[in-house]
């Protein structure tokens, strides 16, 4: 615990990563796969948020929408148009899948901004499962729809013939790096922002620095609100891009 050793000397206590610890909600037992933990709680809350926005908010089916219904319709239209524009009309069958990912990430990210909360999307385990899910789904769709001609995705026919094998290697590597970058981008963004806020919060212990620290927290918090949305958007739009590659592998 290098940080705690430091803190003994300066009087500051740094625990920027403690907010990410997974712990049981009830009792002190070990974290088994079915244990109800803070992960469970905050994921359940994101489900509640999705239900409130998209089910309860639209329950009146008003022609002239209320505010909540308006936001729900906005989210629907936003993702629907994104799938249609990026992946094409034939990808609209996968719209509920992408909407699920987008709504979960958005809700989890914003719930993570509530003070004292736990940010489920800051964990690589969570984002990696989603990214691997997208990767496997997209790859399977590609092979299922196009058979072995799906592999032409890696064989760039517009490039000069001698370059094609080299490009194919690069394409294959980049294809398999996709889930890694896809998951680390989201988890890293969420984790870094929250950790930085905690570090600034710890600096607020020194009276001279405190005003600056509070100002910095405010600024980073605003940035994090932006990041929360943008990362969900990026995750969803990359899913659409990968889906487009699977549905239309020929360049």
């Amino acid at each position: 615990m290098a940080s705690e050793v430091n803190s003994e000397e300066t009087g500051l206590v740094f625990h920027p990563m403690d907010q990410f610890i997974v712990e049981p909600l009830f009792g002190d037992g070990p974290v088994l796969w079915y244990t109800i933990t803070n992960v469970t709680l905050w994921m359940a809350l994101s489900v509640v948020a999705v239900v409130l926005l998209l089910v309860v908010g639209t329950s009146r089916r008003a022609i002239v929408p209320s505010r909540t219904q308006s936001i729900g319709e906005l989210a629907y239209g936003f993702v629907y148009k994104m799938v249609e524009d990026v992946a094409g009309k034939d990808a609209l069958g996968y719209f509920p899948y992408i909407m699920t990912l987008f709504m979960f990430i958005v809700c989890a990210n914003f719930l993570g901004l509530v003070p004292m909360s736990f940010t489920t999307t800051s964990h690589i385990a969570v984002t990696a499962v989603m990214a691997m899910g997208v990767f496997l789904t997209v790859t399977l769709i590609g092979f299922f729809k196009h058979g072995f001609s799906f592999l032409s995705l890696f064989w760039i026919s517009s490039a000069p013939l001698p370059l094609r094998p080299i490009l194919a290697v690069i394409e294959i590597i980049s294809y398999f790096v996709r889930p890694v970058s896809h998951s680390i981008r989201l988890a890293g963004n969420m984790m870094a922002g929250h950790a930085v806020i905690k570090v600034f919060a710890a600096f607020a212990g020194i009276a001279v620095i405190a005003p600056l620290s509070v100002l910095a927290i405010t600024a980073i918090y605003a940035l994090e609100i932006l990041v929360s949305f943008i990362q969900a958007y990026v995750f969803a739009i990359l899913t659409c891009v990968y889906l487009k590659d699977a549905l239309h592998p020929h360049h």
Partner: protein, 175 residues
Amino acid sequence: MASNSSEAAEAASPGMPQLDFSSFGNQIFWLVVTLVVIYVILSRVALPRIADVLAERRESISNDIAAAEDLKLKAGEAEVAYHKALAAARAAASNIVEAAKAEIKVELAAAIAKADGEISDKVAEGEKVIQEIRKDALASVEDVAKSTASALIGALGGKDDAPSVAKAVSSEMKG
């Protein structure tokens, strides 16, 4: 026990709970549950409902626009009919005015003619009266002349011979 496990975790990955593999099973399990629940809710309830609402709205908006077009057309027709009615009413009013003028002219002419007739009657009557008065006056002048002549003759000591005096006066006056 918790401190033991967390200490062990921290020993394995200092400062990064994200790399504490002992919690991965738990997170993955709950993530899968969460995603399945959200997927079911969205695909069964939320998304069809929102799609319905959006379609309904689009439909009602296009209906309203069609109705507005219809009303606009009707308003145009009504305007044309109004102008037509206005022109007809103007024409009718000028006809009435013409007719009334002609009638009044005829009546006026009749009244003038009648008044002219009455006036000429009155004039004729008056002339007759004047004529009579003049005749009367002439007669009385003769009478006065006769009586004056008689009186003069009497005063001069002549003989009062009435018929010859009257004869003489009348012939004198005619002459």
